[in-house]
C-alpha cells in the first residue's frame, strides 16, 4: 500500500541553537568554509565545523599524510592551520556571512591554550558553538590528555568559565571508557558531546619496509569505524543528559539515522566529503527520504528510538 506523503521537519535544537538539519560537516574535512561553499549550498548544511584552530600557526606533518585503507582512510595531517589571529582576520569574516551555523573547532597543547583560544573567540561575533578537540591522535599529547577523565573535566571547566559560547567537547575513542570521559565533560559544563574522533592506526608498505604515513601512525576514519562509533555514541547517550553528536563513517542517510537511533541528536559527516564534496547535503536529503519512508515527521523523534 502506498504511504502518504508527510511533511518532514529536520530542524533540531542543541544548546539553545537551532540547526536547519542535524547533518553537519566534521572538523578537518571541510576546511574553513571557502572550498566547501563552492560545492554545496551552505543553507542546506546543518552547520559548518571548521578545521582545528590553534593559538600559534602549525605547519603540519610531512607528506605522505593520508592513505586509503580497506573501508576507510588513515590521516596524519598534524593540525596544519594558520593560527587564531590569521583565522580571525582571514577566515572568520567569510564564515560569518555563510548562511549556516558556524562551529569553530579549537585545539591546544595544554588547558591554558584552550582557555586563551576560547577567550579570544568570545570577542568575535558570529560563532554559534565552540568544539573542543580534546582528542587529536596525531599530536604529541592529544590522546594522553584527552583519554584522562580528570583532565577532560578540568579543561572543560576552565573553558566554560572563560566563554559564554556553548561548548561541544569532542572525545577520543582511544580509551577503554569513553562514557566516563563524556561524564567528566558533562559534569563540568559541556553543552554537548561529539564522538568519535579517529582511531589510532597504521599502514605498512611491505615492499619498501616503510610506513605509508610520514608520521608513522595516523587516525582511522571512514565506513570501517562506523560500528565503533555507533557503540561509543550508544554508551555516551546512556551516560549523560546533554546532547550527543555522532561522528564516524557516515556515508548515507541511513547511516545518519542509525546514529540518531542510538541516541545522537545530530551527526557530522567527514570522510564522505572527500569522496563527494556535497556529501553532508546528500546525507541530509537521504535522511529526509528515510523519514518519509518510515513516516517520521520530526527528526527529533528518531533520537534514541533503538529497540533492545
Amino acid at each position: 500500500m502506498p504511504k502518504s506523503t508527510i511533511k518532514t521537519d529536520l530542524t533540531i535544537t542543541i544548546a539553545g541553537v537551532e540547526f536547519a538539519t542535524p547533518v553537519w560537516t566534521a572538523s578537518g574535512t571541510a576546511g574553513v568554509g571557502e572550498e566547501i561553499e563552492s560545492w554545496c549550498d551552505p543553507k542546506r548544511l546543518g552547520a559548518m565545523v571548521t578545521k582545528s584552530v590553534s593559538l600559534q600557526p602549525r605547519p603540519g606533518h610531512p607528506y605522505p599524510r593520508t592513505v586509503e585503507t580497506t573501508g576507510g582512510m588513515l590521516n596524519a595531517i598534524g593540525l596544519q592551520n594558520k593560527g587564531i589571529e590569521a583565522f580571525i582576520t582571514d577566515e572568520l569574516p567569510r564564515l560569518r556571512r555563510m548562511p549556516t551555523r558556524v562551529v569553530v573547532n579549537i585545539v591546544g597543547d595544554d588547558q591554558d591554550e584552550y582557555v586563551q583560544l576560547a577567550k579570544r573567540l568570545s570577542d568575535e561575533a558570529g560563532i554559534d558553538l565552540l568544539e573542543l578537540n580534546l582528542s587529536c591522535p596525531n599530536v604529541a599529547r592529544g590522546i594522553d590528555q584527552g583519554s584522562d577523565p580528570m583532565w577532560v573535566g578540568e579543561c572543560t571547566a576552565k573553558v566554560r568559565a572563560a566563554t559564554r559560547i556553548p561548548l561541544i567537547v569532542k572525545l577520543t575513542p582511544n580509551t577503554n571508557d569513553i562514557a566516563s570521559l563524556a561524564r567528566a565533560a558533562a559534569d563540568h559544563g559541556a553543552d554537548a558531546i561529539s564522538a568519535i574522533n579517529t582511531l589510532v592506526g597504521m599502514a605498512v608498505n611491505h615492499n619498501t619496509f616503510k610506513p605509508r604515513l610520514a608520521n608513522v601512525t595516523g587516525g582511522l576514519s571512514g565506513p570501517a569505524i562506523k560500528p565503533v562509533a555507533l557503540a561509543a555514541v550508544y554508551k555516551i547517550a546512556r551516560a549523560v543528559k546533554i546532547p550527543v553528536i555522532g561522528i564516524g563513517g557516515i556515508m548515507s542517510g541511513t547511516d545518519a539515522a542509525e546514529f540518531l537511533l542510538v541516541g545522537a541528536q545530530a551527526v557530522q559527516v567527514g570522510t564522505a566529503t572527500f569522496r563527494h564534496p556535497d556529501a553532508a547535503i546528500r546525507v541530509a536529503e537521504e535522511l529526509r527520504d528515510y523519514m518519509q519512508e518510515h513516516q517520521i515527521a520530526r527528526v527529533g523523534d528518531l533520537v534514541g528510538r533503538l529497540t533492545l
Binding site: E35, D41, T66, E68, P223
Partner: protein, 278 residues
C-alpha cells in the same frame, strides 16, 4: 598562477567512457565524453575521477587532450594500483563520477620566449595539452619561437608518442636512460647539454616541467642556476582534490619566503619552481 575563478556553483559531473586504447606497456589513453570539462579545461588542470563504486576515493588525472567540439577529454596513465586498475577495466559506456577541471594551469609566457616543455615519463600528459595550446596560439602569439618538447623515459619501449601533435610545428627531442631512443641520459641532462651547446638561450627561454619528483628537483636546480623561469606540475595522492583534506601537500615557501606546505590540488598542481622546497 592564479586559479581560474569557479564559475558559479561547482558540481560533480558524469563523464561517459568512450574508449580505452593501450599506448604502451600497461599504459592507457582513455577518452571520456563530458562537454563542460572538455570546454573549460586549460593545460595543467586535472580531473578527479571515481574509478568504481567500491573505492572510497577518487583518483586525480592530468588532462592529456581535449576536443571541445566533440565534447571529449582524454587522460593518460599507467595501471599501477586499485584505482587505475578499476578504471582500466571499465567498459566503454560506463558513467564515471568526475570533478573538474580542478587546479590551476601553466602560465602563458612572454611573446619572445621559447617555451621548453620537459617531460619525464607520463609527466608528458599535461605538457602535451600545453603544447597544443601553444601551437594553436591560445597561450602565445603566432610569431613566437617554435616550442621545444623534451621527452624522457627509461628506455625506448616505455616512450609514448604525444597524441596528435605534429613535429613540423613542435621541436620534439627524446632522451632515454639507456640511449635506446635519442639522447643518452635524463631529460634534464639533455636540457643541460642544449644550454651548453647554445641551442637554448637562458634569457629567452621558459621551462615547464612534469615528471617524477627527483627529475623535477634536478630541473629546478638547473633552471635556478641558469636563471630560467620554471614552472612545475606536481603529482600527489589526493583524497579530496578540492582543497579541504590537506593530504596532497608539498613543502615550499610562501611569497614572503617562509616555509609552508602548499596543497597541490588547490594551490597547484602547477607551481613556480622557486616556491617548492624539494
Amino acid at each position: 598562477m592564479k586559479q581560474p575563478a569557479p564559475a558559479g556553483k561547482l558540481r560533480a559531473r558524469t563523464a561517459t567512457l568512450v574508449s580505452t586504447r593501450q599506448v604502451g606497456p600497461n599504459i592507457l589513453q582513455q577518452r571520456f565524453a563530458e562537454p563542460v570539462i572538455a570546454r573549460r579545461t586549460q593545460a595543467g588542470q586535472f580531473v578527479h575521477l571515481l574509478p568504481g563504486p567500491d573505492l572510497l576515493f577518487r583518483r586525480a588525472f592530468s588532462v592529456y587532450a581535449t576536443d571541445p567540439k566533440q565534447g571529449t577529454f582524454d587522460i593518460l596513465y599507467q595501471v599501477l594500483g586499485k584505482g587505475t586498475g578499476a578504471l582500466a577495466r571499465q567498459p566503454a559506456g560506463t558513467a564515471i563520477d568526475a570533478l573538474g577541471p580542478l587546479g590551476n594551469r601553466f602560465t602563458p609566457l612572454p611573446a619572445d620566449c621559447t617555451p621548453i616543455l620537459v617531460a619525464g615519463g607520463l609527466g608528458m600528459a599535461p605538457l602535451r595539452l600545453f603544447a597544443e595550446e601553444l601551437l594553436s596560439g591560445t597561450s602565445r602569439r603566432q610569431e613566437s619561437p617554435r616550442p621545444i618538447m623534451l621527452l624522457g623515459n627509461r628506455r625506448k619501449s616505455q616512450a609514448v608518442v604525444p597524441f596528435g601533435l605534429s613535429s613540423k610545428t613542435l621541436d620534439v627531442r627524446w632522451a632515454t636512460d639507456d640511449g635506446s631512443r635519442g639522447f643518452r641520459g635524463t631529460v634534464v641532462d639533455l636540457l643541460s647539454a642544449m644550454i651548453v651547446a647554445g641551442d637554448v638561450t637562458p634569457g629567452k627561454a621558459h621551462v615547464y616541467g612534469c615528471g617524477p619528483e627527483p627529475m623535477l628537483a634536478a630541473l629546478a636546480v638547473l633552471c635556478a642556476n641558469q636563471r630560467i623561469p620554471c614552472e612545475l606540475s606536481l603529482e600527489r595522492s589526493m583524497p579530496c582534490g578540492f582543497g579541504v583534506c590537506m593530504g596532497c601537500v608539498v613543502r615550499g615557501r610562501d611569497t614572503s619566503g617562509y616555509e609552508t606546505y602548499h596543497r597541490v590540488c588547490r594551490d597547484g598542481p602547477v607551481f613556480n619552481a622557486a616556491s617548492i622546497a624539494f
